[in-house]
């Protein structure tokens, strides 16, 4: 096992897939020459290794970047494009939502759009709400897209490799806070299947469903509660679409209690989908009301105490769990 931050894990995946398949290319703002001279960042060193023909720095033109991906994917390439921060997805959203996701359907299945859109998400960088705004719920609501949000470096690597090999458009969202947290990653070649959640900690008393940067918060809360003899089971979704209902429902069947934890704002967040699925298909297992622990319904503020207030913490999660025990 090597220990890698998520950025490094993404970097390895990109490198390996680019070696494997000459049709894979990268495009985005600063994916080649970057203002970060930092090996912890996902595209570090790729320009040197693959050259400017395959690592394409672009103008600041998110719609064109996304259109590039759509057109090139249809033509048989495997674009991996970067939208720098999640809020800028808005600018690419027509191309992704109305085109990448729909053109296959509109062609009656004749065309395919094997592309990956990588983007950074997450609060905690003090940059405020135009840089930090988790919009995974948007892409999860668009038939034709797959949505991946890894919480560990190992999953990031394996899932990105699967995403690049997938014949469909995949939205791959990286949490910036995880770039600097070294985590074990297998050295041998592997992929991680899209569409499978993973129980990251087994438990019997309550299920916490979470994804991306919030896994660490869930783990910390579970640790604390273990000391009070409460055994938390943590389901890391890893993929929002397609959603692994089986793993969620199996866990809830065991524990009878559910807390959903996500960093995005509450109203309309993807937590609602998880809640609805459980209420539809796991209702009879439930012994208590649901709790959601999420960002409050505000833009992410810049000031450190305000931003900390925004980000859900383990104490909030512990409190929510205790409410329904």
């Amino acid at each position: 096992m090597q220990k890698l931050g998520m950025g490094q894990a993404v970097n390895q995946a990109l490198r390996e897939e680019m070696h494997r398949d000459p049709n894979v290319f990268l495009a985005g703002e600063g994916v080649g020459v970057s203002i970060h001279l930092n090996p912890m960042f996902p595209t570090h060193g790729l320009l040197e290794e693959f050259g400017p023909g395959r690592i394409k720095d672009t103008p600041v033109s998110e719609a064109a970047i996304a259109g590039l991906a759509v057109g090139a994917a249809e033509a048989g390439l495997r674009p991996v494009v970067e939208i720098m921060f999640n809020p800028f997805f808005t600018l690419a959203s027509d191309m992704i939502v109305n085109h990448a996701a729909k053109l296959r359907y509109l062609s009656g299945g004749k065309s395919a759009f094997p592309l990956v859109v990588r983007m950074k998400s997450g609060a905690g960088i003090g940059a405020g709400c135009q840089h930090s705004h988790n919009l995974e719920a948007w892409v999860a609501h668009c038939p034709g897209l797959k949505v991946v949000m890894p919480a560990t470096s190992a999953d990031a690597k394996g899932l990105l490799k699967s995403a690049i090999r997938d014949d469909n458009p995949v939205i791959f969202i990286e949490h910036m806070g995880l770039y600097f947290a070294p985590m074990p990653v297998p050295v041998d070649e592997y992929t991680t299947p899209i569409g499978q959640a993973e129980v990251k900690r087994p438990g019997t008393d309550v299920t916490v469903v979470t994804w991306s940067g919030m896994l660490g918060v869930a783990m910390a809360a579970a640790e604390k509660l273990a000391q009070e003899d409460v055994q938390v089971e943590i389901v890391d979704l890893r993929t929002l679409v397609p959603l692994d209902k089986e793993t969620i429902l199996a866990s809830v069947a065991k524990t009878g209690r559910l807390v959903i934890l996500h960093e995005a704002t509450r109203t309309g967040g993807f937590g609602g989908e998880v809640a609805a699925v459980v209420m539809e298909e796991g209702f009879h297992h439930l012994k208590a009301p649901l709790r959601r622990v999420t960002g409050p319904d505000i833009p992410v503020p810049a000031s450190p105490p305000l931003e900390r207030f925004y980000i859900p913490g383990d104490e909030q999660l512990v409190a929510a769990i205790k409410e329904i025990l």
């Binding site: 719609a63 590039l68 057109g71 249809e74 033509a75 048989g76 191309m95 509109l106 062609s107 009656g108």
Partner: protein, 320 residues
């Protein structure tokens, strides 16, 4: 004139076929419920698609928009499958998923049509990039309207294509209107071809009712593209003789304007020219008309007799 007689007759033919095809749609649209969705026609503008596609090779790619029938027929799309799709039948080229608005015909390298105004150019950038990346000797041509030129996506696409010298031909079909708004309500620039200079690429305004002029401009742009000299912008000035779509009463289009443009119709214009130059006889032309008639009638028959898809087929083709 450096255009072969064959090519000239080909252009006359695709214009004629397209017109006959769409004239039939005009009638079909009058029958309640026969043609679903918004039917949007190219009547009077056929020189643009027919001239441009004649200058392209089969391996070249076109990306078109909501006003696509002429472009697609000129690129060689099979009329039966096209008509059946417009009817939303299962035998349509897109199994009824698309209908008239987003016809995709990858068989003739017309792989995606977007009805989101301005969305074609960024996608065309991707297609042209793939051609460049793979070192292929082919180009992409992208049709968009004068209205579309106001969309930000078109700017981004032109800038990127010019920057990377992609083998891309931007064909702006300036038919005076975008919806109910006239050109001058969309932009203060009379000729959109001046925009080319904003990206250091060549731009040309041609008479969009002169199919030979369109052909020559696109041919030249294609040669530049193949030579690695990057994209071009060809603005074709023409006129939307019918409404935006078939339900549009055209109350805002002056009658005289429509009439004066109907007189400039590109089909008789080329026909008379070819007959005058001895390239074509009146009998040849009659034969062409007859052929178009029977192709379109056969397409209608095919579409009429084809079944609708079963409801559950809606669930297919979302993911690969």
């Amino acid at each position: 004139m450096k255009i072969s007689a064959e090519k000239q007759k080909e252009m006359l033919w695709t214009m004629l076929l397209s017109r006959r095809f769409e004239d039939e749609l005009v009638e079909l649209c009058k029958v309640e419920g026969k043609i679903p969705g918004m039917t949007i026609l190219s009547t009077g503008q056929e020189a643009v698609g027919s001239g441009a596609c004649a200058a392209l090779e089969p391996e070249d790619v076109i990306i078109t928009n909501h006003r696509s029938h002429n472009h697609l027929l000129a690129k060689g799309a099979e009329p039966n499958a096209l008509m059946a799709e417009i009817y939303c039948k299962r035998t349509g080229c897109n199994k009824g998923k698309s209908g008239t608005l987003h016809l995709a015909v990858p068989e003739v390298n017309a792989p995606c049509t977007s009805t989101v105004v301005g969305a074609g150019p960024p996608i065309a950038v991707g297609q042209a990039f793939a051609q460049q990346y793979k070192g292929e000797q082919r180009v992409t041509a992208c049709f968009f309207g004068d209205g579309a030129a106001a969309e930000g996506s078109v700017h981004e696409a032109m800038n990127l294509a010019a920057l990377w010298r992609l083998p891309l031909i931007f064909i702006c079909e300036n038919n005076v209107y975008a919806g109910a708004q006239r050109h001058e309500e969309h932009t203060p620039v009379p000729n959109l071809a001046v925009r080319a200079a904003a990206y250091a690429m060549p731009g040309e305004t041609v008479d969009g009712n002169d199919v030979l002029a369109v052909y020559l401009a696109v041919q030249e742009a294609r040669e530049r593209a193949l030579a690695g000299e990057g994209p071009s912008l060809v603005e074709c000035k023409t006129y939307r003789c019918r409404g935006h779509g078939e339900t549009d009463p055209q109350h805002y289009q002056p009658r005289e304007e429509i009439c004066s443009w109907l007189e400039k119709c590109p089909i008789p214009r080329l026909r008379d020219d070819l007959i005058a130059r001895g390239v074509l006889t009146a009998a040849d032309y009659q034969e062409m008309e007859g052929r178009a008639e029977s192709i379109v009638m056969e397409a209608v028959r095919f579409a009429e007799e084809s079944p609708y898809p079963d409801p559950e087929e809606a669930l297919e083709d979302v993911l690969a």
